[in-house]
Symmetry: C2
Subunit: 343 residues, 2 copies
């Protein structure tokens, strides 16, 4: 097994800490052409929560990436307008600023690019065009004012580009610092209990951290726009392929149509993984211990015993961060009329 040999080598490197793992940084990467500002954050937050960005006024970004519910939705797959279901789970928006590519298949190179997707996806927010989104936003006086404040140098700031910039800017504020693991890495050796430390050693020894490295455990050393893509399963043929229907969705292949991208996915973060069940692209695995077993087997051909699984789960629980308090936005009105069409 060619792949398996490569993995063993990777695992060895991993246990030598070639891929160092760091605490979550205080600052997120910010693109030069979209600097942070309070006005942009406030605008982005309003847009993020606004169901009028969906065709029938039922779905906002927050419906699936619920920032009050750890950034996901707790459901196997996303839910869109008219009760439609997507094919994949909703990745948590918290700490998404640290990802170098966005979406399960990494098809967006930035948060700005990502933000364009769901709005016009027919099974998500279902707007028939981005122009229609802008047309609707322009009917809301409070948004016109807020766009002007957020983009003060532009004459006509209400554009799709600026809408995505504001959304991305808000999303860059969604960071969960001070997980027990971060405290541990910064020197507080009591921040992890002995079981969590055993789990931390184990994920390095068996090779999980060859992919789950870096500040959000989603890859180390990748530039923005460059994805940490890996096959899932690495080693096809385990009982889990069928049990959880792992192979049905071809992942990155659907983007590139290249054979080598079949069942290839962006490596997802471990940050807050304990509180963002269910697991994997199709959400078919409901518990973290089963997710650990599946990963160990399908990616590293490792059969873990119950104690090992428990140790790793304990360690993963040390990656639950603090969710900073946020104020709710007040969505701007359209005084004296409604812009939401009939269903």
């Amino acid at each position: 097994m060619h792949l398996r040999k490569i993995l063993m080598v990777i695992a060895t490197f991993a246990s030598l800490n070639v891929w160092a793992t760091k605490p979550l940084p205080d600052k997120v990467p910010v693109p030069a052409d979209n600097p942070m500002s309070t006005q942009k954050i406030e605008l982005g937050k309003m847009l993020f929560f606004d169901p009028r960005l969906s065709m029938d006024g039922t779905i906002s970004c927050n419906s699936c990436h619920n920032v009050m519910f750890h950034g996901g939705d707790g459901r196997p797959v996303g839910a869109g307008i008219h009760g439609q279901r997507g094919g994949r789970g909703s990745p948590t928006v918290w700490n998404s600023a640290f990802y170098t590519v966005q979406f399960w298949d990494g098809r967006a190179a930035s948060l700005e690019e990502q933000a364009k997707g769901p709005v016009t996806n027919s099974v998500e927010m279902g707007m028939t065009s981005h122009d229609l989104v802008i047309e609707r936003v322009r009917q809301i006086p409070g948004y016109i004012a807020a766009f002007k404040k957020a983009f003060p140098k532009e004459k006509n700031p209400v554009t799709t580009l600026n809408l995505t910039r504001a959304l991305a800017t808000y999303e860059r504020t969604l960071v969960t610092p001070n997980a027990p693991f971060d405290k541990y890495m910064k020197g507080n050796k009591k921040a992890l209990n002995p079981q969590q430390i055993r789990g931390w050693k184990l994920v390095q020894e068996i090779g999980c951290t060859s992919c789950h490295a870096g500040e959000i455990f989603a890859g180390e050393g990748f530039k923005m726009g460059e994805g940490n893509f890996q096959p899932f399963p690495q080693i096809p043929g385990s009982k889990y392929d069928k049990m959880y229907d792992i192979l049905a969705d071809k992942g990155r292949y659907e983007v590139t149509k290249k054979d080598e991208d079949k069942n290839v996915w962006r490596v997802p973060t471990w940050r807050n993984v304990a509180i963002t069940a269910p697991y994997f692209h199709n959400g078919k695995v409901k518990t973290l211990d089963e997710a650990v077993r599946v990963m160990a087997k399908t990616q590293l051909d490792a059969d873990l015993n119950d104690a090992q699984v428990a140790d790793i789960v304990a360690f993963l629980n040390s990656l639950t961060g603090e969710f900073p308090k946020q104020t709710m936005p007040v969505l701007p009105a359209t005084p004296n009329f409604s812009i939401t069409p009939d269903p």
Copy 2:
């Protein structure tokens, strides 16, 4: 026309200010058996935002009574699980504490009673029983702790009754003070402009305030649990009955099955009416000026000219209050597993 005569008498009384209208009070009515507490408010807020109280994890109280969007949803009718639509619009939750009965048809005597309804309504949140709700809540460690804090004297506080008490307690914090009209009534004569003052006089003269009286303009002098019920249309036969399908929903008759309750409704508040379009029980009227025309004709047989409509709309805009800043709740997790069932 018997009714018309009665109305004229009522209108006369109204213009004599028999039904005084007051600024919004600082304090809401609170039932003796459910006193306010910070812990109950915090718990109620979490529950209000939690989509796990719906069958498939897609709908929370806030989905239709969106506190960030002036307490409603901007849609003609509410939307529930599986893309289902209700038959009536979602009344704003802001200032609902001042209503003496709840729901369009007044079928609940309190906010506590109201809170029980949508959770198990098959086209809203769709839970198959209140026991299932409690079973689910009991799987969430953070809720068990929060219920204990909110109801410290009870051994097993996670009950349907306490869930509705917490929700109602949170809702009692949703008050929008300091509307221009309130400032005007408290002595600031510049808080209303001349057009708004004309509108204010007009609604008294033509008789709107015979029903739309009191602090939230939904009735004056009613005790908690006692409804201000009125037929809509008062005077059937106008073009609007068909145009907006006013008669299709029998309103309070569906609750009491009494003939005199056919097309009878709770008088809705005017507070924030300018920013809570669309209008009426079926949400078929999309603009406030048309809503004013419809009401004048169907309730008072008055044909208003455009200037009168504009004056009344200007006045109604003076009833838009301030929406106090709120912090977002952090919904408690179920660490290491998901409790949301497949759709």
